[in-house]
Amino acid sequence: MAALIATVLALPLAAEEVVLGLSRNSIAIDTTFDGSEILLFGAIKREEAIPPSELGIVVAIAGPSQPLDVRRKERRFGIWVNVDAVEVDSAPSFYAVATSGPWSQVLSQVEDLRHKISIPRAIRSVGAPGGVVDAQSFTDAVIRIREQSGAYLIREGAVELREQTLFQTSIDLPANLTEGDYVTRIFLTRNGSVVSKYETIIDVRKVGLERWLFELSRENAVLYGLMSLAIAIGAGWGASAVFRLLRQG
């Protein structure tokens, strides 16, 4: 009985659904790679008339996550030294969020917490070691530093919504892109609560020479090291020989 009620209650939620298109679902990093733009476009599929409540679209792209060490300097005996350190368990190397309107209108706090959409929610930090009272300021610092470097982007109102049916946005991926799966999520919201969600993966991979060198450096490290040294010695010898010829000639 309870299950039936739940299904009935859930039904209207599925009345609207996101259909998504991507300008590309994989990005190849070759030697000339210099950033890339991804165009996301889609439509809202529905079986009934457009509901009167407020519609919102939130797009989030997250790069692969990694643990971070965050340190804070303080003045001790007249010099600036690292005093406190907090380990952030997982922070995405890249994160971009775009919305169709002001943040507070398109997404409620509760839904943000549940789906971990905004940047502070996307970073996972279990806790600070004893003695650090303001662990939050360390997470804030990660966000601040990465926003400045362009790795974290917030684009409020950057999703264009037409006739409550069609939407599109574009997101710039920076030149210092890390390889991996970029999880792309689209949320459809009504009055700030998520009614439909679509998730796909943009595959970012090195190709060609980049791929070959990267794999060689991991799988055949000794050979890779020797190759690097051989190039260095060869170039050093070559330059010396060329200069000797130039001086004689």
Binding site: F33, G78, W80, R144, N176, S217, G225, A232, G236
Partner: protein, 305 residues
């Protein structure tokens, strides 16, 4: 023209890398220093991750030092015997240094200790060298005879004497081995080749002629940097060969020009320029400690081990 670096995972301008390599190469050829102390912060500044910058810098140093040492060889300005003795000391010292480094790391605060060490050490070396070479320059201006630098008498009394023909020395091997060891320890802790500590030590402690010092220092730096490169390549996989390639093309050309400039200069002029360089690095590090940083927080990725 941009190029994406496979290990550093950033896209950078090719000509910027060539220029950077060239600049550091000139210094390397002139003074016999590897230039890692200059290259690492410059690479960091253009957006290369610090760990990759250190490891790749070592590979570039192999190239520019090799290029420069060949030029010095032709001029018979490399004391192979002294270089080998220093290198043996250096390798023993580096072993101790790595152990000491891990011990300090376990205590925490290793960065601070390294920087403090750097500032004090560079400050003393730079200042002493500056004063000494200034005096030497004044003396030659007055037209007086070039005074022989004072040789330490206690060094002459040590056993195990060996003849170093290229340097014109007949001294015990104990002081060069000790100098090599001390530099090895410092190099391992500070993560640099140690050229700009080695060069003053050879001039003032061992009494070697300045012209021979540059080539001999380069000779042993090649081995230290090659060892460092292999260590980084096999343990943490952070040597970026594409980055190294562009840096070293600039570096080897710069090193050739550097050697020519160095050969045309007087020994005391060379010494005073190196002293100024050392003092400048010292001042920069000192200010970093004293001034409030723009951002008190710093992030570093934890590498999966």
């Amino acid at each position: 023209m941009q190029i994406y670096l496979p290990i550093a995972e950033v896209s950078v301008n090719i000509f910027l890398l060539l220029g950077l390599g060239g600049l550091v190469g000139v210094l390397s050829g002139m003074f016999g220093v590897g230039g890692g102390f200059l290259m690492t912060p410059l690479l960091f500044f253009i957006g290369i991750p610090p760990a990759v910058a250190v490891a790749t810098g070592a590979n570039q140093i192999v190239a520019s030092s090799f290029s420069a040492v060949l030029a010095h060889f032709r001029r018979r300005a490399v004391d192979l015997r002294m270089g080998t003795v220093l290198l043996i000391g250096g390798l023993i010292g580096a072993g101790f240094g790595v152990m000491l480094f891990n011990y300090l790391k376990a205590l925490g605060q290793v960065d601070l200790l390294v920087t403090l060490f750097y500032v004090v050490f560079l400050g003393i070396i730079g200042a002493l060298m500056f004063v000494e070479s200034l005096r030497a320059i004044r003396r030659t201006r007055r037209g007086g005879p070039v005074a022989k630098r004072k040789k330490h008498t206690w060094i002459q009394k040590l056993p195990l004497k060996m003849r170093f023909r290229t340097s014109g020395l007949y001294i015990s091997v104990i002081p060069p081995v000790l100098v090599g060891m001390a530099v090895g320890v410092l190099a391992a802790i500070m993560g640099v080749g140690g050229g700009f500590i080695m060069v003053p030590a050879m001039i003032y402690l061992l009494g070697m002629p300045t012209k021979v010092v540059v080539g001999t220092s380069l000779f042993q730096i090649i081995f230290v940097a090659a060892f460092t490169t292999m260590l980084h390549a096999t343990t943490s996989h952070i040597v970026d060969v594409v980055l190294a390639l562009f840096l070293l093309v600039g570096g080897v050309v710069g090193a050739q020009f550097g050697t020519q400039i160095g050969a045309r200069m007087k020994a005391e002029q060379l010494r005073i320029l190196l002293a100024i360089l050392v003092l400048a690095v010292c001042a920069k590090l000192g200010l970093d400690l004293l001034l409030k940083p723009g951002e008190v927080f710093s992030i570093s990725e934890i590498l999966p081990s």
